[in-house]
Amino acid sequence: MTLNSFSFLVFFAGTLLLLWILKLLLQKNRHFPVILRIFLVIAGYLFIAYADIRYALCLFLFSLFTFFLGLLIRKYPEKKKPLMILGILVPLFFLGLFKYYNFFAGSFCRLIGRNYHSLRLLLPLGISFYTFSAIGYLIDLYRGKYSACTSFTEFLLYMGFFPKLISGPIMRFDDFKRELSGMLLLNPKDFEAGIQIFVIGMFKKMVLADHLNIFVNDVFSAPKAFHSLTVLWAVITYSLQIYFDFSGYSDMAIGSARMLGFHLPKNFNFPYLSSNLTEFWKRWHITLSSWLQEYVYYSLGGNRKGRVRTYVNLLLTMVIGGLWHRVAWTFLVWGALHGIGLILHKLHLKYGISKGCKAGRLFCMLFTFGYASLCWVFFRADSLSEAWLVLTQLFSFQTGILQPYTWTFFSLLLLTTCSIYYFIKKQTFAKNAKICYPVLPLNKVWGLTVFFLLCGLTIGLAYVGNTAFIYGAF
C-alpha cells in the first residue's frame, strides 16, 4: 500500500474515523495516551502487513532487538560500547543480507570467473529507513543524548509510525517522543494544514513525477535512438522527476501525520535553488543528510582531524550515503561524485573568490543544478555502461529522435513559479520551519474552492498507471 494508492486513502480514512471515535469516547480517560499509542502501533503494523505479513514480522523483530539493547545500555552503562556495536552490526548484517547479498556474491563470482544466479531475497518494506532509525537511537544512547526508552509501545510506534515507515522522513527518537507527548490528536488547525500538504504531495507525485517518468523511461531504455538534445531534456526531466517523486512522497507522509496531529520534519526545501552542493545537501532529503552528518561524518571524525581527513570523511560519508540507497557501482559513483563536489566546494571556499553578484548566484545555481543532474544519470541508470551510454549520447551531438516532452516544460514552469513565490515569501516561510507551502483557510468559501480545485486537478491530471515511488525501492 503506497501513500498514493486508493487503498491507502481508504485505510487512512478508516484510521481517522476510528481515532475520532476513540477521542470522543476516551479522551478524558487517564490511559488515553497509551491507548492512542497502541492504536497507532496496530495501524502501522496493519499498514505494513497489507504488503506482506513477513515485513511486519521483520519490523517487529528489529524493534524488539533495538528496544532491549537500549534497556541493556541503560542498565549496564559500562558495557554500552560493545552493546552499541552489537546494535549496529546486527541490523546492518540483516540489511546487508536482504539488500546487498546479491551484489557482493555476484561481484565475487564475476571476479573469480564463476556464474552467479542471484537469490530472490525478500526486501522488507522500509528496512533502510527503520534500520537508520534504530542505529541512530543506539548511537544517541551511547553518546548519552537521552536515556533509553522504557515503554515498548512507544518504541514500537517510533519504529513503525505508518506515515514515515516506507521512506521516512527519518526522525530522531527524542524528537519523536517530544512530538508524541505534545500531540494534539485531530486538532482542526493541523488537520487543515495536513490535508493540504497531502494533496500537494499527491499532485507532485501523481501528476508531475509519474508523467515525467514516461519520458525518462523511454530515453534511458534506448538512449542511442535519441538526439543529444532529447537526452539532455531527459536528464533535466529525471532531475525534476526524482524531486517531485520524493518530495511528493515526503509531503504525503508529513501531511498524513499532520492530519493526525503529529509534526514530521521537513525533508525538502527547494533544493534546486541551491548555489552550491553543500547548500544542496542542506535542502535535499534533509533528514537523511542530517543523519549521515550526525552518525557517519561526525563518527568518522568530521572536520576535527585536519583538512585531508575532512575531505576523506566527506567522500566516505557520501559514498556510504550512495550505497545506502542500493549497493551497485552506479550508486557508488553517484555518492563519490557528490563527495568530490563537496570537497571541491570546500576548496573553492578556501582558495576561491566566494563573493558574487546576483548574476553570479544565478550562474552558481544553474551550475549546481547541472552538476546534480549529471550525477542523477548514475542514480537512474541500471548499470555503469548504461550511464556511460547516456552521457556519451549527451555529449557527442548525435542525431536521433527529437522529443520536446511537454510535461517537462509544464513542470519546469510550475517549479519556477513556485520558486519565485518562495523568494517573495521567504521571510514568512523562514518563521515556520516545518512548512514551505501557503495554507488556505478552509473555513472560507474561496479557500475551500481553491482546495477543491486542487483536489480535482490532482485526480483529473494524474497519471493513473502503476508507477512506484522511486524511494520505495530503497
Binding site: T399, P404, K444, V445, N466
Partner: protein, 343 residues
C-alpha cells in the same frame, strides 16, 4: 452547519471551474447509440471536442457525430472510411487527419469517415453491412487496423452474430452526468486509479479508448481452425462490401518502439501478418501494410507514426506523420485501382 453550506457552495463553484477547464483540456463529449448500426454509437451532432492529453487538438464533430469537415449526401459517398479512434483522429488538428488529406488529394471524390473510438476491426466488420447500406460507398470501403493477430474467439462472436455492441447511455442519470464535463473526467480517472489499469472497459462513462493489442511474438504456425475463422471473418466483410460493388481496402499500421540499439522495433508477428495478408488476397481485399513506410520514416527522419510530444515516444494514436503517410499510400492504391479499372 454553516461550514457545510460553505463547502457545498465551494464544491459547486469548483465543479463549474473544473468543467470549464475540462472543456479546453480534455473533453470527449456524449456518445449516443447509432440507430443505423453503421457504428455502435456516434457523438452528439456538432459535438465540440478537445484533447490535450495525447497530442493537442480542438475540433467539432459533423452533424452526424463523426469527424469530417463536410457531410456529403448519403448517395454520393465514393469512399467510406471505417475504423477506431485512429481514424476518428481526435489527436491531430482538423486538416491533418488521413480523411481530410485524402479528400484534398481526391477533390472529385467524396470521402466520408465514420471512424469511432473503440471500433476495432471486430466491431467494424460486424457493422460493415449496415454501414454499406447506409452510405452505399460506390468505390472504396477502407478499414483501419493496428492488429493482425486477431482473437479467434472475438471473430467467432462476430461471425455468429453474438458480438456485443459498445454500450451507450442515452437516458437516465448517467446520460445527464455525462453533460457535466468535470464529473465524467474525474469519474473516469477515479475508476482507472482504483483499478490501476490503463484501460477500464467496464466504466459506464468511459470515453471508450481503444485497446492497442500486442502482437504475439514469433508464433511458428497457426491452426487451420484459426485460418478458417479468419477467412470467414474477412469473407463476411467482403460480402457486405460486395453488395455495393466497392473495393475493400484494409490498412495495417503496426505499433513501433525504439530498440536499445537505436533501431525501430515492430512487434508484428510475421506468421499472423502473412496469414492476414493471404486471407485478404483470398477475398479480393487489398491489404496495405504500413510497416516499411513507418520504418523509412524513422530511418530517414527519426520520426514515429504514432505518439506525441506529451506521450510516450512512438506509442498511442497515429500522429500527423502517420496520417500523412497513410493518406499518401491510400491515394496511390486508389489511383492504381482506378487506372486498372479503366484498362
Amino acid at each position: 452547519m454553516k461550514w457545510l453550506f460553505k463547502a457545498v457552495a465551494a464544491g459547486i463553484l469548483s465543479l463549474a471551474i473544473l468543467s470549464a477547464f475540462n472543456l479546453i483540456y480534455s473533453f470527449s463529449g456524449i456518445h449516443i447509440a447509432n440507430p443505423s448500426g453503421a457504428t455502435d454509437y456516434t457523438w452528439q451532432s456538432g459535438q465540440p471536442k478537445s484533447n490535450m492529453t495525447e497530442g493537442f487538438s480542438w475540433l467539432l464533430m459533423d452533424e452526424n457525430g463523426f469527424r469530417n469537415k463536410k457531410v456529403p449526401s448519403k448517395s454520393s459517398v465514393n469512399i467510406l472510411m471505417m475504423g477506431s479512434s485512429h481514424m476518428e483522429a481526435l489527436n491531430v488538428s482538423k486538416e491533418e487527419d488521413c480523411t481530410s488529406l485524402l479528400s484534398e488529394a481526391l477533390p472529385e471524390m467524396s470521402v466520408y469517415n465514420i471512424g469511432m473510438s473503440g471500433h476495432t476491426l471486430y466491431r467494424c466488420v460486424d457493422n460493415a453491412e449496415a454501414a454499406c447500406e447506409v452510405y452505399s460507398p460506390s468505390d472504396f470501403l477502407i478499414l483501419e487496423t493496428d492488429a493482425v493477430a486477431l482473437s479467434e474467439e472475438e471473430m467467432s462472436l462476430v461471425l455468429s452474430g453474438n458480438a456485443a455492441a459498445i454500450p451507450s447511455y442515452d437516458s437516465g442519470l448517467l446520460f445527464y452526468l455525462q453533460k457535466i464535463p468535470a464529473i465524467k473526467w474525474i469519474y473516469k480517472q477515479c475508476t482507472d486509479w482504483i483499478s490501476l489499469s490503463k484501460k477500464v472497459t467496464a466504466s459506464p462513462l468511459d470515453s471508450l479508448e481503444d485497446s492497442f493489442p500486442k502482437e504475439t511474438a514469433n508464433t511458428t504456425t497457426l491452426s487451420s481452425e484459426y485460418q478458417d475463422t479468419l477467412s470467414s471473418f474477412l469473407g463476411k466483410l467482403q460480402e457486405a462490401a460486395g453488395k455495393t460493388g466497392c473495393q475493400t481496402v484494409i490498412f495495417y499500421h503496426p505499433p513501433a518502439s525504439a530498440a536499445p540499439s537505436g533501431e525501430i522495433l515492430f512487434s508484428t508477428d510475421p506468421v499472423y501478418l502473412k496469414a492476414f495478408a493471404d486471407a485478404c488476397a483470398m477475398h479480393d481485399i487489398l491489404f496495405l501494410d504500413m510497416t516499411e513506410d513507418f520504418a523509412s520514416l524513422y530511418q530517414e527522419q527519426h520520426l514515429f507514426a504514432h505518439g506525441f510530444s506529451n506521450t510516450a515516444v512512438g506509442s498511442g494514436h497515429l500522429n500527423r506523420y502517420g496520417h500523412e503517410l497513410i493518406a499518401r499510400r491510400l491515394f496511390e492504391i486508389i489511383q492504381n485501382v482506378q487506372k486498372e479499372s479503366l484498362q
